[in-house]
């Protein structure tokens, strides 16, 4: 994994890139993207936004299928009450990963797929918003 700090229009972004083309896993400020580089488009985009990184994709889709590596997005705004999983361990689809306190309720967040829990991106007590990535599974 290579880390960069990229500055675009004065705003710094923490970028982590993993993989050897044409597909990469890119994490920009904690939000994971799956990126595939298409030669021609890259050239086009580069001339358009010379200073920025080239991202030809949208954030990962949290469906249970066709996600690898996948991110576990927060379904709603709230606070991480408890982390039930350990980084580096295997998880099965449906395994309890987090308890998220939201709307005065303890909501259970389970793994959407089976794989290795690569990273946990939040800490207990941390506030999260809808769509924030909580963990990465591959």
């Amino acid at each position: 994994m290579t880390k960069y700090t990229v500055e675009i229009e004065g705003k710094p972004y923490e970028v982590e890139i993993e993989g050897e083309g044409p597909s990469y896993s890119v994490i920009v400020d904690g939000v994971p993207y799956e990126v595939s580089i298409q030669e021609e488009r890259v050239r086009e985009e580069k001339t358009l936004h010379a200073q920025g990184p080239v991202v030809v994709s949208s954030p990962s889709i949290p469906t249970s299928r066709a996600m690898s590596p996948g991110s576990v997005p927060s379904p709603m705004p709230g606070t991480i009450l408890k982390i039930h999983a350990v980084e580096g361990k295997t998880v099965s689809a449906g395994d309890l990963l987090f308890t998220l306190e939201a709307m005065k309720m303890e909501n259970q967040i389970s793994s959407p797929l089976t794989g290795t829990l690569k990273r946990i991106l939040v800490k207990e007590g941390q506030a999260v918003n809808t769509g924030d990535s909580l963990a990465i599974i591959s």
Binding site: S58, I61, T63, A66, M103, K104, M105, E106, Q108
Partner: protein, 514 residues
Amino acid sequence: MEEKLKELQEKLQESCLGGGLERIEQRHQKGKLTARERISVLLDEGSFEEIDMFISQGCHGLVADQREFLGDGVVTGCGTIDGRLVYVASQDFTIMGGSLGEMHARRIVYAQELALKNGVPFIQINDSGGARIQEGVASLEGYGEIFKFNTLASGVIPQISIILGPCAGGAVYSPAITDFVFMVDQVSHMFITGPDVIRTVTGEEVTFEQLGGAAAHSTRSGVAHFFDQTEKECLLKVRKLLEYLPSNNVEDPPEKEVTDSPFREDESLLTVVPEDPQKVFDVKDIICSVVDNGEFIEVHALFAGNLVVGFSRLNGKVVGIVANQPAVLAGCLDIDASDKGARFIRFCDAFNIPLVAIVDVPGFLPGVSQEHGGIIRHGAKMLFAYAEANVPKISLIVRKAYGGAYVCMCSKKLGTDLVLAWPQAEIAVMGPEGAVNVAHRREISAAENPEKVREEKVRQYRERFANPYVAARCGFVDAVIDPRKTRYHLIQAVKMLHRKREDRPRKKHGSIPL
């Protein structure tokens, strides 16, 4: 005469073979059924009567080199499901990719017309490459006429779409207008613009399955109401759904012989809702406990899981259930749940199906994306649908009923006929903690021990407001019931309301905030 009969036989056979044996064989190798085989799985054995078998583009005279196909790429007719008449149209992919031309459309529209005139369900099986390019604008007008009939028939007869192949471009709007859309994993694909166009225009890389597959439309877009693994399972589920639907809007839904005692009590209902108000539970445990034989056919099972909707029976009578699901998003109402609920409520209202709400709602989902996504507009649909509906409306409050979301789940004054509540129900403007923080902020912050004062205030609030008796005194709750006897009380409620008539001011139609 013998000659004539022979000619008839030949033509009938030609029509039945569609695009020919070779293409039929190709489909079978792909594990797909033909248009006629699908009809035979869907309908009662031997009940299918085909109409317009000889329809063909040839009626206008054929252009040189053009081959004539009798039937024009779609099979239509009527038959029965559990002995009840339905009309069907099943597109035949073996004839010009099931493409829709003028006569193809005319054949479908005639089946729609007959379904409407007879007041029976219309079921279409979509498997088509789209508009027939060779026929130009005439095929587009064909779609127009189909959409118009779908719309005219909406709320008069149930309309069901089964997508068993591609359904792209304008073609998607006929299913979209119909009441229920069924899709099969890896078989059905629906989209307005396909992956190729999307790649050219926006540069996004997406497969057919990711873009418009059954999984995408069942979980994300909400276009599909039912998801299945195989064509056969899907067709049989359509038969199952029809067990709950009346043939038209002046009939009552079909009753079924009752094999489940209306007096059956369930001890587990005492503990199904956790005592700790922060803990979640699965509302389907309550639904399956109280309805006849635990049978519940869930609509939109994979979409907006925070609201559960579907059909069941109570003492043989069909009811539509709308329930908050605390296990998903804490049971909050959000944009998707509101749309899902509103559509279901309006369907039930149109087809004389009493509504039962099971309420445990902490409120609306907070967030900028919800607000800017138009939760005001979408939540209003649900309120509108509930207030407008004049079928019997029953609510059962099992735990939290807070704020505007409580009203949205059909509060008394919005128009619920009978509100039942379990003893642990909390009906209030907001939850105890939130309310105390607002109402006693100064007092708490000024106290020597703020936490202790807060706890005391929360306890007082619970006692004063967060119980069913405050609302019951005002007549907003009609009965506080023993959870174990919920089935009995719901059955009684349906019985008490089964002759309900409630007239509305005459109008062309309301203006629901779409």
